[in-house]
């Protein structure tokens, strides 16, 4: 078994009930926990994009990808390597900010990270940050000192850099589609 590492999978699926649970089932069957999952419609309302982060060994990841690709409700699957993809996540932090100097310090951190404050109360600040996981983790480390009351992450969404897209005609895509052909 090769080494376990993080894989980012981008999956285009039919936007229908049950498809998400069908997709995630392949991961649980192999015993892998999904680290992050983001789902939303695409420019075509009948198609959703699922971005999945999973820690798995390469062979298992490949098998999961192959089994996903043969599903009728899955249109396309691709692993997006870190180096050749852009990745973003939205994180919301609700932080304790009871004293004015604490408040100022937090605002400075927010500015440095180019995050934004989206809600204020007498005792708290709610911050929104967009970035990759490293940036989100760094911010979290700093805010920890003030006291994080709540944290919500959307999960990573990613796209390939450059011109290539998920539905590019590759030999492999052609092979999987041949099996789904109904003529």
């Amino acid at each position: 078994m090769s080494e376990i590492r993080r894989h980012t999978l981008s999956v285009l699926v039919e936007n229908a009930a049950g498809v998400l649970s069908h997709v995630t089932r392949f991961f649980s069957r192999k015993g892998y926990n999904i680290e992050s999952l983001a789902v939303g419609p695409t420019d075509d309302a009948s198609v959703s994009r699922i971005t999945i982060e999973v820690s798995a060994d390469d062979a298992a990841a490949e098998q999961i990808i192959n089994q996903l690709r043969k599903m009728f409700s899955v249109y396309s699957v691709k692993e997006l390597p870190r180096k050749t993809s852009v990745r973003r996540e939205l994180v919301l932090y609700k932080v304790k900010a009871e004293e004015p100097d604490m408040r100022n310090e937090i605002i400075q951190i927010v500015n440095i990270f180019r995050a934004s404050i989206i809600d204020v109360s007498l005792k708290t600040l709610t911050i929104a940050l967009i970035g990759d996981e490293d940036k989100a983790d760094a911010m979290q480390n700093l805010l920890k000192n003030f006291g994080i009351l709540e944290l919500a992450r959307t999960g990573v969404v990613a796209l390939e850099r450059g011109e290539s897209t998920l539905v590019d005609e590759t030999k492999e895509n052609k092979e999987f589609n041949l099996g789904k052909n109904m003529n």
Binding site: Y75, E175, N177, L178, N181
Partner: protein, 570 residues
């Protein structure tokens, strides 16, 4: 035309050319069953009422496997649907095209733990090619059309359509469409348009074929392995035989591939794997090119995947891209329908011959255990079945020792002659499958081989076989034990026969007679010969119980995980 969805469903079945449905009614599905009477659909579609939903599922599966047509099975909600699940999984593992139609509770009750409510699509998700819950009456016809297309296309498989009960009562506009028009509209049309974006020609890749031809040109010891894909692919067998005869290399099959080439063909080395022949298994360790056609290399074939065909370049031909490199790492693959790929190969393949290599392979002989007592041995019984039957025979089996004996000794000549649960290994499959196969092939002789353990699981389907006058011959190998598990216990668990001794009847002859079957118990080969001849001649419902030795083993045997030449028994 305005009609209720229960009628729409019947019309959709007629569009697909369905002539037989196997099933069992219940509270939620009663509107659909009413159509057999109310609008006379019972005249056009024969409904076979089984004793249990599992029997119906296996019968629809047997119907599908023996014809290549899509089998259809009905069941009600809750326990009706869950009783199907073993049958659905059996069809899924052996790529058999069956459409299962269940009706769930009305939409307003779904999710409320109503009486006989269960999440059918959730339960069947891992064991179907695709499944649907129909809540919108307008989509029903579309869904049924797509479901049948998916079940029979590509790598075939089961599809489940679960319909909310209120939908079956709702009136919609319905226009019947000929089958050839289905792909032009609706969901199916949309799916095909989508895949066309990526798919210029649904054809195997020419360069991949050329690469295989080069590899064949370089090989000195090629071996061909056929699986169930060659049986499922329409008209693939003649191309396959043309291929092997041009190649002149030894040929083996998995159990699901039996019938891809006649068992008495001079190139056939017999079945491969755990209970395969010495010749087939040893050949995989020595070959330098292994050409696999439509076989998924399960753990019963490639027992130790990392050592499987270690000296060979492995080429995998399959319609399902997800099977490539799943179990065994391959060197080259070709994706496509077996018939089409073989056709393209045959068009360019020169004639080869490997007399030395063939001699080396066929020198490996499998020993046959001699009779240890006066009782007939399994091989003697199957030899007698061979004597009285021809290629116009379908043999269904259950699971265990008798299944392996049939696979090893029966002289199969054609595809679809053997109907057996290979992947899922479902005990109790054979009787339902025999009923389905006989209904689909009334002119063929259908023999149901079973063991005492398997037979007891679903033998209530004798009532179905008798009522619908579906004559089948059951050959019951009674060793008073769960023989296959007992064999493992004998060889690997210190002969501790934990819970595998079946010393508790029933009296099978009386049992069969209770269902008005002709029934007889025999123990010598002479008696079996006489009774079997009588059974074949009679054309009646027959059960022959063969009293065999409990110690008869399935041989050869390679334990799971061992290399292909590490025989535990040979």
């Amino acid at each position: 035309m305005k009609m209720k969805c229960s009628q729409v469903l019947m019309e959709c079945l007629l569009e697909q050319g369905v002539d037989t449905v196997f099933g069992y009614p219940g509270g939620t599905i009663l509107n659909i069953y009413d159509e057999f009477e109310l609008h006379g659909y019972g005249e056009k579609i024969k409904h076979i009422l089984t004793s249990h939903e599992q029997g119906a599922a296996h019968a629809a599966d047997g119907y599908a496997r023996s014809t290549g047509k899509v089998g259809v099975c009905f069941a009600t909600s809750g326990p009706g649907a869950t009783n199907l699940t073993t049958g659905i999984a059996t069809a899924y593992y052996d790529s058999s095209p069956v459409v299962f139609i269940t009706v769930n509770v009305p939409e307003a009750l779904i999710g409320k733990d109503a009486f006989q409510e269960v999440d059918v699509t959730g339960i069947t998700m891992p064991i179907t090619k695709c499944n649907y819950l129909v809540r919108d009456p307008e989509t029903l016809a579309d869904v049924v059309r797509e479901a049948f297309a998916i079940a029979r296309s590509g790598r075939p498989g089961p599809v489940v359509i679960d319909i909310a009960k209120n939908v079956t009562l709702t009136e919609v506009d319905f226009e019947s469409l000929p089958l050839s028009e289905h792909a032009k509209s609706g969901r199916l049309g949309k799916r095909l348009r989508r895949s066309e974006n990526n798919l210029k020609a649904p054809e195997p890749d020419g360069e991949d074929i050329d690469k295989l031809l080069t590899m064949i040109g370089e090989a000195k010891k090629p071996l061909v392995l056929a699986g169930g894909g060659v049986i499922r692919s329409k008209d693939a067998v003649p191309e396959f035989i043309k291929f092997i005869e041009k190649l002149g290399a030894p040929v083996t099959t998995s159990m699901m591939g039996i019938g891809a080439c006649p068992c008495d063909h001079p190139l056939y080395t017999g079945m491969i794997g755990m209970h395969g022949t010495r010749a087939s298994n040893i050949a995989t360790t020595k070959c330098d090119l292994l050409i696999i056609v439509g076989c998924r290399l399960s753990d019963r074939v490639a027992l130790a995947p990392q050592h499987f065909a270690k000296k060979a370049k492995i080429v995998h031909i399959d319609i399902d891209r997800a099977e490539i490199d799943k179990n065994v790492k391959t060197d080259h693959h070709i994706i496509g329908d077996a018939r089409r790929v073989l056709e393209l190969i045959n068009a360019k393949l020169p004639k080869y011959d490997y007399p030395g290599w063939r001699e080396e392979v066929f020198a490996q002989k499998t020993k046959v255990a001699p009779a240890s007592s006066g009782k007939a041995t399994p091989k003697e019984i199957i030899d007698i079945i061979n004597k009285y039957t021809d290629e116009n025979t379908i043999v269904t089996t259950d699971v265990g020792q008798h299944q392996m004996w049939v696979a090893q000794y029966y002289n199969f000549k054609l595809p679809k002659q053997l109907i057996s649960s290979g992947g899922f290994g479902t005990m109790g499959f054979g009787l339902g499958a025999a009923i389905g196969a006989k209904i689909a092939n009334p002119d063929k002789l259908v023999i149901h081989c079973t063991g005492d353990g398997s037979f007891r699981m679903n033998y209530t389907e004798y009532a179905t076989a008798k009522y619908y006058d579906v004559p089948i011959i059951t050959v019951l190998f009674n060793n008073r034990a769960l023989g296959m598990v007992r064999q493992w216990q004998a060889l690997t668990a210190g002969r501790r026969f934990s819970q595998t001794t079946l010393d508790r009847g029933p009296d099978f002859v009386k049992f069969a007679q209770a269902f008005d079957f002709e029934a007889v118990k025999v123990s010598t080969k002479e008696d079996f010969d006489r009774e079997f001849a009588k059974a074949v001649k009679s054309g009646k419902h027959y059960m022959i119980e063969c009293d065999i030795e409990t110690e008869d083993l399935v041989s050869p045997m390679i334990p799971g995980g061992a290399k292909s030449d590490e025989f535990l028994l040979d």
